[in-house]
């Protein structure tokens, strides 16, 4: 009772003075205790509208506009058909598939950070795992749209699912697209489960600290009555560990399968054994880029420099650099085998990719994905958030270009010169892509507003860990 009133009186607002970044060697700012951590993170959620940052409002509004654009584009598509896109024979796949692969890729960093880094006991992940899991979910939501939208008869998408029907017909399980159906839906489900399980204890915290009764009830329902029993924690941790253990091979399999969409075909430039590893690396690459793109502004807006510290960002940047090199290796080997295979189609394909009509995009891609990120070798750059942020954006663009190169330049000039063609995207191609970007951002904005964007209980563990690490006189 009194607790609630107290909460209501105290109108949550962000710490007024800018909290400095504690620097690149510690995960968590000093002077935190279990309670303050809760306040700081939950505070963002309790923030009354009048106090929520203008940037949030503006951002959310623009994202919403783009969501409407998406709806318009989809309406046009369903009324008229895929003809409104720049597709043709030979280039029967375009933006839709490019975006699908791109979004799925972005999703991967989330799972990677929360699962793989968890297994590797990387404590710096604590402050961004919740957030990147959310990112994964939303990216997969965007990705999931495209395979349906790009169908010639989208209203029949359910024919890709195995269900008993009056035709006695079933999906054709040799098709990579069928594999996608299972891979993507599994990935979506598991990401959701992983995310929600992670949220459970924090929802309980919100239930017990939220300022209004309504909020308490809502979070109360969502938290399923979690009360932090030692035994519950024990099972919880086991389940979480298992989920992490399952999500890791899953995330690898998903992008492997996505790469099969191409690798399984006969097309020069698609039919390549390097694709699975190289796609996974690319996915992680773009994923980390997206995490940085989102986290850097966010920690500034919500004044969380001491929760998401430079340590975290730098590690992410390093990882990005590392994965970027794997991607570069991918490009290298692709080019090498195109030449070494002695296959005239392969060889032509790669020359055409570099010097053909879409050549400029190839070089732009090399610039974005290989050349520029090398700047991250320098610590100066890594500590300059403006630069890191810019590079992360550039990498995102680069990874999109990569998918464009793979899809379009391979298709537009394949085996028989007589059937060569060009692909020129239409305004509706672009509208659909921009629309999903808006959809993604809107979900992100809503997430940070209504759910703890940092895992509170894990930060508590971190606090506990720090307290013991720190010399005795410094605390109390």
């Amino acid at each position: 009772m009194d607790q609630i009133e107290k909460a209501n009186e105290n109108n949550y607002r962000l710490p007024s003075e800018v909290i400095p970044d504690p620097g690149a060697n510690i995960v968590l700012g000093r002077g935190m205790d279990y309670a303050s951590v809760t306040d700081r993170i939950a505070g963002v959620v309790y923030l009354p509208w009048k106090h929520s940052p203008k940037k949030w409002l503006v951002g959310a509004f623009f994202s919403f506009c783009f969501v409407n654009l998406l709806m318009l584009a989809v309406y046009m598509l369903f009324m008229n058909g895929t003809g409104i896109w720049g597709l043709n024979i030979p280039v029967a796949w375009g933006f839709a598939i490019i975006n699908f692969v791109w979004w799925i890729g972005i999703g991967h960093a989330g799972t990677l950070i929360s699962a793989v880094l968890f297994l590797l006991k990387q404590d710096w992940r604590t402050s961004i795992n919740r957030f990147s899991e959310a990112m994964t979910l939303f990216a997969v939501a965007c990705a999931g749209m495209f395979p349906i939208l790009h169908l010639g008869r989208p209203w029949l998408f359910y024919w890709l699912l195995p269900y008993p029907n009056s035709m006695w017909l079933w999906p054709q399980p040799r098709s990579p697209l069928e594999w996608d159906v299972f891979a993507v839906s599994t990935y979506g489900t598991v990401s959701l489960v992983f995310w929600y399980v992670g949220l459970l204890p924090d929802l309980a915290s919100l239930r017990d600290t939220a300022p209004s009764l309504l909020q308490r009830k809502i979070y109360g329902i969502l938290s399923l009555g979690w009360r932090g029993s030692a035994i519950h924690w024990h099972r919880y941790q086991k389940a979480y560990l298992l989920l992490a253990g399952l999500a890791t091979p899953l995330v690898l399999s998903v992008h492997t399968i996505v790469s099969f969409d191409f690798a399984v075909s006969q097309l020069p430039g698609w039919h390549t054994t390097i694709f699975p590893p190289y796609f996974v690396a690319g996915a992680v690459y773009s994923g980390f880029a997206m995490v940085l793109t989102l986290v850097i502004p966010l920690r500034a807006w919500y004044n969380m420099r001491d929760l998401i510290t430079l340590r975290t960002i730098e590690s992410a940047a390093k990882l990005m650099l590392g994965v970027g090199l794997i991607v570069a290796y991918g490009y290298g080997s692709e080019a090498f085998f195109a030449w070494y295979s002695g296959d005239k189609y392969e060889a032509f394909m790669y020359t055409n990719r570099m010097f053909g009509p879409y050549g400029f995009m190839y070089w732009l891609l090399i610039l974005c994905n290989i050349a520029i990120p090398q700047a991250l070798w320098s610590q100066k750059v890594r500590h300059n958030l403006a630069l890191v942020w810019t590079i992360s954006i550039i990498v995102n663009i680069g990874m999109w270009l990569e998918r464009f190169e793979i899809v379009v330049t391979s298709l537009h000039r394949d085996f028989l010169p007589s059937s060569w063609g060009m692909y020129i995207p239409t305004k509706w191609d672009i509208a659909t892509y921009a629309g999903t970007l808006g959809f993604f951002m809107l979900l992100i904005f809503l997430f940070v507003r209504f759910l703890p964007s940092i895992s509170i209980f894990e930060v508590r563990e971190q606090v506990h860990h720090d307290l013991h690490a720190a010399p005795v006189e410094e605390h109390v």
């Binding site: 607790q3 205790d33 279990y34 309670a35 809760t38 195995p162 006695w168 017909l169 079933w170 999906p171 054709q172 399980p173 040799r174 069928e178 594999w179 299972f182 839906s185 599994t186 489900t189 598991v190 489960v193 992983f194 929600y196 399980v197 204890p201 309980a204 915290s205 017990d208 600290t209 109360g220 329902i221 399923l224 009555g225 979690w226 009360r227 932090g228 029993s229 030692a230 035994i231 519950h232 924690w233 024990h234 099972r235 919880y236 941790q237 086991k238 389940a239 298992l242 989920l243 399952l246 999500a247 091979p249 899953l250 399999s253 492997t256 399968i257 894990e458 508590r460 563990e461 506990h464």
Partner: protein
């Protein structure tokens, strides 16, 4: 477990609750209580505390086993479905490939395994924890709100054969934690 309601010895009394500032104190208290012979008790913390469950005598954690079983089921389901589809339900000559194109069936089989296991991991965990359980006697204690924020609690339940209200409270007070409360049903 605490909610496995059996013969009630004290109507309207769930147990006695003691509050601590740090996980270390709680852990110590639990060990003492266990040594004292208390069995029906539970400890509460806003974050996982290593060794706490063991301290109150929790042994077998069945989550892993469930997940393993689910995983195997997933594999059988996935592969079974595909083989049935392509060999029995409606056999087609697809690009001259054999009906049993097992290499092509691996991805879906794998995904099914993951899906089944992951769902089971969550469901079994919740089920065994008896969640959802929005109402619980402990919530009657106002201070218990902080169990999800920054306080650590030990609750000895009235069902414990060794539970005697005054005695137990006395024992808890002696543990040197914060305030001690009865937990009304």
């Amino acid at each position: 477990m605490s909610h496995a309601v059996s013969t009630k010895r004290y109507e309207g009394l769930h147990g006695a609750l003691v509050e601590f500032q740090t996980p270390e104190e709680l852990l110590e208290a639990c060990e003492k209580a266990y040594a004292e012979g208390y069995r029906k008790m539970d400890a509460y913390a806003p974050m996982p505390v290593e060794g706490l469950a063991e301290a109150i005598g929790f042994k077998k954690n069945k989550v892993a086993m469930c997940v393993l079983i689910a995983g195997c089921t997933g594999v059988c389901f996935g592969l079974g479905l595909l083989e049935w589809i392509s060999q029995i339900a409606y056999p087609h000559n697809v690009g001259g490939r054999p009906l049993n194109s097992w290499p092509a069936f691996i991805p879906i089989t794998f995904e099914c395994m993951i899906l089944f296991s992951a769902l089971t991991a969550m469901v079994s965990m919740l089920a065994m924890n008896g969640l959802p359980r929005p109402y619980h006697a402990l919530f009657n204690v106002p201070s218990f709100e902080r169990a999800s924020v920054d306080r650590f609690f030990l609750c000895i339940e009235s069902e414990d054969p060794k539970f005697e209200p005054d005695e137990t409270v006395g024992f808890l007070k002696a543990l040197g934690g914060g305030e001690v409360n009865y937990v009304p049903e």
